[in-house]
Subunit: 699 residues, 2 copies
């Protein structure tokens, strides 16, 4: 809801025109004195209202006994009082007309059931008064452009120049460390926001506002678990539309990490592979760790995205060139052969013992003649197969001025992007390049990794821009009732949704099974049908390739006999007769419901590959056929789809249609679907078909 | 050859008692003035003999017109003259009785054929005079303990405190950068050696001498390609015996990198996977890049090797704990649940909102009460499932003294190792911990990675110590003649070597084939036999599962017909009749000859897995059965061997026996074997058998 100035509560949180500090201390060394100290030091240009009955005045500002005494409504109130008095202070803030509150106090959801109850209470108060609530258990929010340091983070101590990076973190301590690392690199943060327990304002809420600020060109995030999936996807989409890379570190990528995360945040984290798939689906750059994230952010704030995967490498060390080539290949870039013309040009530039290939080795000679370095990089960048140059240097104490001049000229004289990889660099060298808007990273591999991340991002962005057939959410399907959905019903639902599934019939007698087989056509498979036996193969409840009535009869007896023996208590609905399919590659396709993102579609390689490597990709449902195709591209086993050992390629278009159809079914059944497993799906040169299906409904 | 003082030429290179500098400059800013400058500055305690007819005196030392004028034999001569006069200076050095020479000059092997000829010439001169030659094209050698800086590396500028690390590098520029990075961390290098073109003294020669120095506890290396495989293996073995970790970065791990490396060094690099396998086989720690290497070196110089894989994580940030748990799982460590006793103890120590699990979150409260941190780490280390603690901190400007005291006490009060991961640390904090002999790294993941590397190393070392059945080299087998070895002969050789291969017979008529089948037992396989058709399947030259004479006759006609059509020029020796094997898992076993390491044995997963992921492991032949078993453990698809989808486990002992037998065959045929492919090898619960074999001989 916007006020008469067109400002809503999130504006008041992230760009407040006035701030009340409830529970302020006049001792600026104390945590609840820090906000005041920061606001004064950082030149906050809005109004400051200290609130604490103990003081008349704090930091030269009149101090109020209660927030209601101020006489006007502060846009933002920072609450820095013990947990037990937070509710009354919130009430007071609400009554005073405050629009947004930040609650520093801990002792809420992170403390178990009792804390959760207190948390529900404070959220209720905030909602009732129409206030947005950041926290509790947060370090607060910084808008560095406006000097609005509504925070007690240690990062606030020391210089905090505003810059083009908007950073939102779910962790206070780790987020502070990342912000400090950014400062060490000379990277300016325009925003720093810690969302704490996310009882109201989420990670996506903050980023969604920050992405719109034209002073921000790059977004960075530290994530422990996404609770607001749709919000996250919206921000990702918007960032892509605006051409602003969103780079995140998300922890909890392994079972150990997820266990640690859930004990840490108390929140139910969705499966990491789901986040990973959806992030990539929407062009979010996922960094391995904080340094990797900052490398990418660093490059993106200074350097144009390369227009392709060709990297020209120029070094003063053959070995570094090899290491960069290695890494480039590993991360999907290429180190193209240079054209004859480029090589000839390089030969004229370089000393006889230099190397004019790619990587180019200018040798230590360039120290005597810096133009050799500049001209080499220019020659490489002029090569049509090169889209970005990576220049490797080491040490160079005493040559910083020369190098700075060289790189300044290089920047003026070239159009394509280049990045400097400077190992054991003198600090003043890195600073000088940053001032010129040139990206300098500290190692060969980090440089190549940052390039690859931005190239991937640009490709994802182009693919999404080209993908005009955005899938519309299909109309909702009625719930089939809770639990196991009978196979005939599942197959019928899937057929209606355009998903190719082998035809089935339920038989309660052997003769009925034979009738189904005659209708479906021999050979057929028989499978025990029971809501209590979901893993039919394990109890010998499946027989395939039955060619005639005789073999069917024998199989029928065996299957029902084994089921009765293995699961005497199970309700047996009968036996499913199923059409046999064929294909050259086994796959799995399925649907899951993620707690943060809702229905997600999964595609993976089946057969033994799923045993050896969990080779699956998730996307948020629904997906277009183009998105489905990009999912397939991310499978490690994708080479199988093209046909190996003389096998023909599978009908990829049909596979993509099927994935898209399954995903639309997932979106239509979002209200009730718990899980769908099509395993195996047989893909062949003439089409695709699921030959087993298991559908579970929540209601 | 040792002299009367018991010193050989490598001692004279790496620990010279006197150094002549041939081509010295009195201008210490010039490259050929640097050695003199360094020797004076670094307090070299041996004799210095400048040699240059231009000067009477350099740096206070009498300068000689020629090396022969000195009147005594310098142990080491550094040659810093243009390439074309290197030979005459080498002759003079030889005549003067010099034991070792370092040739800085470039313009040799790295310059193509002409340079190679010059290189052969200088090597010949050195050999003739019994001198060991380091270079040419090298930055030289440092023994920092003795101030012997026989080098012009930029690393020599600035402080170079000797320390427990011996570092050998094949790259000058990259090696200099790594040395500078080590200095930035406060890591002391006792030795720095750049081997340049390795015409005589190799990487392994240098390390082999350095490993024996008791002042050295850790070895580090930068490798572009190993030319002296046996030497490398000896050093690796010796380092393990002495309990000194050897950590290397090797570039050229991808095709792009290998291409770049071969154009850079001019040397034929062996396959990277071969190096990788052999390095792990001998306990060499392979780091991804320079920072990863230095992290491991850093930890190993201060911290005892953990006795197991259990990591206790103590942080001030839940998020960092999650990231470390993630990484621990990814690199094969575990983050064990703590005992009830430990948890109870932690609950007493921590604030209510801390986390007493593993990871432990002490929260920012520990700043007020540092004993909370110390006692938490102690509690975690006392847990029987924890073998090492990782403590994560950030920033802490202003708290360095407190933390230093805390960690000093912690070190005194615990026996198990711990490592500090300190993000955005104040420099003085890192320095203080280093002075206490406590390892502090700069990030969560680097810390976990370093721990994992040392745990892996210790395990490899223990395994090797336990592996008493070191394989002896079997007696050499006579060469079977160059090229394709006929299948009957190959199978017979392999049978004699104890390798289980399906029985075969060569038939030149259909009736003869039936006779073989009767002898071998039905069913059989038929395969075209021709030295010109090595990929038989591709031309339809294989049929399997032939159950009787009738089907064999038909298959015989088809196979010979297809071969005649597909390869009309091919010499056809007949048709091989082969016993059919059975198994549950397809594997490949083979032998290769590596240019640096000689015969190597390869094991991999077969079938479609080899198409999707190149899942193979190499070791140097011969290997023991225990080594074979460790090779299997490194396969990504190893889970297949235990039986998936209800399949029984394969006979792993038989598989290991087979691998060992193949490897001994490789060692016995080292003089002539080019390649052996057993593909597929069928492994099942009742044994293993190769059902196809291809053996190629060089002579």
């Amino acid at each position: 809801m916007k006020d008469c100035n067109g400002r809503d509560a999130l504006d008041c949180l992230l760009s407040p025109r006035s701030i009340a500090i409830v529970g302020v201390s006049s001792d600026f060394n104390k945590l609840n004195g820090r906000v005041m100290k920061f606001l004064l030091e950082k030149g906050y240009n809005g109004k400051i209202f200290p609130v604490n009955p103990k003081y008349e005045e704090v930091g030269g500002h009149r101090c109020f006994a209660a927030i209601g005494d101020i006489g006007e409504a502060p846009e933002l109130a920072v609450i820095s009082v013990p947990a037990k008095v937070v509710p009354e202070q919130l009430e007071a803030a609400g009554k005073a007309g405050v629009r947004a509150v930040i609650v520093f106090s801990s002792g809420f959801g992170e403390m178990g059931e009792e804390g959760l109850e207190k948390e529900r209470q404070v959220v209720e108060i905030a909602r009732r008064h129409g206030m947005r609530l950041c926290g509790p258990n947060t370090l607060g929010v910084i808008n560095a452009f406006e000097g609005a340091f509504a925070t007690f983070t240690q990062y606030g101590m020391g210089s905090t120049n505003p810059g083009p990076v908007g950073f939102v973190t779910q962790s206070g301590a780790f987020g502070t460390a990342i912000a400090a690392l950014a400062r060490k690199r000379g990277l300016g943060l325009g925003y720093f926001a810690n969302t704490g327990n996310e009882t109201d304002v989420t990670f996506a809420d903050c980023l969604g506002r920050i992405v719109e600020d034209p002073r921000i060109t790059t977004l960075a995030g530290y994530i422990e678990g996404i609770t607001d999936g749709p919000g996250f996807v919206s921000v990702a989409r918007r960032a892509m539309e605006l051409g602003k890379p969103l780079v995140v570190t998300k922890v909890g990528r392994t079972a150990s990490g997820a266990r640690a995360a859930s004990s840490h945040t108390g929140a139910l984290a969705g499966e990491d592979a789901v986040f990973d798939g959806i992030a990539r689906q929407h062009g979010v750059i996922r960094a391995r760790n904080e340094e990797h994230m900052l490398d990418i952010v660093d490059m993106s704030t200074t350097t144009a995205c390369p227009a392709g995967r060709g990297v020209g490498i120029v070094t003063q060390s053959g070995g570094a060139g090899v290491l960069m080539s290695d890494r480039a290949e590993e991360v999907g870039l290429n180190v193209p052969q240079l054209s004859e013309e480029t090589v000839a040009r390089l030969r004229d530039i370089l000393p006889a013992f230099g190397a004019a290939g790619n990587p180019v080795d200018v040798t230590a000679q360039f120290i005597a003649d810096p133009s050799m370095l500049k001209e080499s990089v220019k020659a490489v960048l002029d090569d049509p197969n090169v889209h970005v140059a990576a220049v490797w240097l080491q040490l160079m104490d005493g040559f910083v001025d020369t190098l700075t001049r060289t790189f300044r000229e290089l920047k003026e004289e070239t159009d394509k992007p280049f990045v400097v990889s400077w190992v054991a660099a003198p600090e003043e060298g890195l600073r000088a390049l940053r001032e010129l808007g040139i990206c300098a990273l500290r190692g060969a591999e980090p440089t190549i990794d940052a390039i690859a991340a931005l190239v991937d991002w640009e490709e994802a962005r182009q693919a999404r821009l080209a993908d005009t057939a955005a899938p519309s959410d299909p109309p909702a399907l009625p719930a089939p009732g809770p639990g196991f959905v009978p196979t005939e019903k599942s197959v019928s639902l899937l057929h209606d949704a355009g998903v190719p599934v082998a035809r089935v019939g339920l038989a309660t007698t052997c003769e009925q099974a034979i009738e189904h087989a005659e209708r479906i056509g021999w050979p057929v498979a028989l499978k025990i049908e029971s809501p209590d036996i979901l893993h039919k193969t394990e109890i010998g409840g499946v027989e395939i390739g039955l060619k005639d009535a005789e073999s069917l009869r024998a199989a029928y007896e065996r299957i029902t006999g084994r089921a009765a023996k293995a699961a005497p208590q199970a309700r047996i609905d009968g036996v499913i007769v199923q059409e046999m399919g064929s294909g050259t590659v086994e796959m799995v396709i399925g649907l899951r419901r993620d707690p943060g993102f809702g229905p997600v579609v999964m595609v993976g390689m089946g057969g033994i590959l799923i045993e050896v490597q969990k080779d699956v990709v998730f996307n948020r449902a629904p997906v277009t056929e183009a998105e489905a195709s990009r999912m397939l591209d991310k499978l490690k086993g994708k080479v199988m789809l093209d046909g190996v050992r003389g096998a023909p390629p599978v009908d990829r278009a049909a596979l993509c249609r099927m994935i898209s159809a399954v995903s639309r079914f997932g979106a239509a059944s979002a209200d009730w679907l718990e899980e769908l497993d099509l395993n195996p799906v047989l893909a062949g040169p003439d089409g695709v078909i699921a030959v087993d299906c298991l559908l579970i409904s929540e209601n």
